[in-house]
């Protein structure tokens, strides 16, 4: 649920989907092995 909250916040700030994804992955980098196989949005 933390991911959703962060996405809501960053989306409200006007970040692009890709920028949001970069920020999310940076924050959860330590858990990357558990990440779903979700592709990056187009640049």
């Amino acid at each position: 649920m933390t991911v959703t909250r962060d996405v809501i916040e960053l989306n409200a700030q006007g970040l692009s989907p890709r920028a949001i994804r970069v920020a999310i992955d940076a924050k959860f980098a330590a858990q990357m092995e558990d990440a779903t196989d979700t592709p990056y949005p187009p640049a």
Partner: protein, 152 residues
């Protein structure tokens, strides 16, 4: 820094000049010391940070690019639902806090959340993105079949 030169004059005048110069130097040094101790923090309130922690972390991390790691995968279709058609399950209504708002966002933003991962190890359950922990399916009429994994 002023340089004293013996420009002549009486001994008393020279002592006066040296005394003045010494006092001036001490006063100047003292002012400099006090200015350095003039902690702006003590005079003005600390500004409240408004930058989102996530964004800040991303900046600090140098924006590490994990895109290549996920390049082989295709995004799943995540149509948006219709909140007017949603029948909220008890586990959402009873969860309290902002849980319902999170579910609402997921219902209305499938086109965004299809690009966001989940890190709860739900990959083993067949989930492909963060939304899968909230929404199982969206019917043609906009009604939604929910997943209970998100609040757990």
């Amino acid at each position: 820094m002023a340089v004293l030169t013996n420009t002549g004059g009486s001994e008393a005048e020279r002592r006066l000049t040296r005394r003045f110069a010494l006092r001036w130097a001490v006063a100047g040094a003292g002012s400099a010391l006090l200015a350095g101790c003039d902690d702006k923090k003590s005079k003005s309130p600390t500004p409240t940070a408004t930058v989102a922690p996530t964004a800040t972390i991303a900046a600090a991390a140098g924006a590490v690019d994990f895109s290549a790691r996920f390049a082989a995968f295709a995004p799943t279709d995540e149509p948006n639902g219709d909140l007017a058609k949603v029948v909220w399950p008890a586990y959402v209504l009873n969860a309290g806090g902002d849980v319902k708002q999170l579910y609402e966002f997921q219902v209305l933003n499938g086109d965004l959340m299809r690009w966001m991962p989940c890190f709860c190890a739900c990959k083993g359950d067949g989930h492909h993105n963060n939304r899968d922990c909230y929404v199982k399916a969206v019917n043609a009429d906009g009604s939604v079949v929910f997943d209970a994994m998100a609040p757990t």
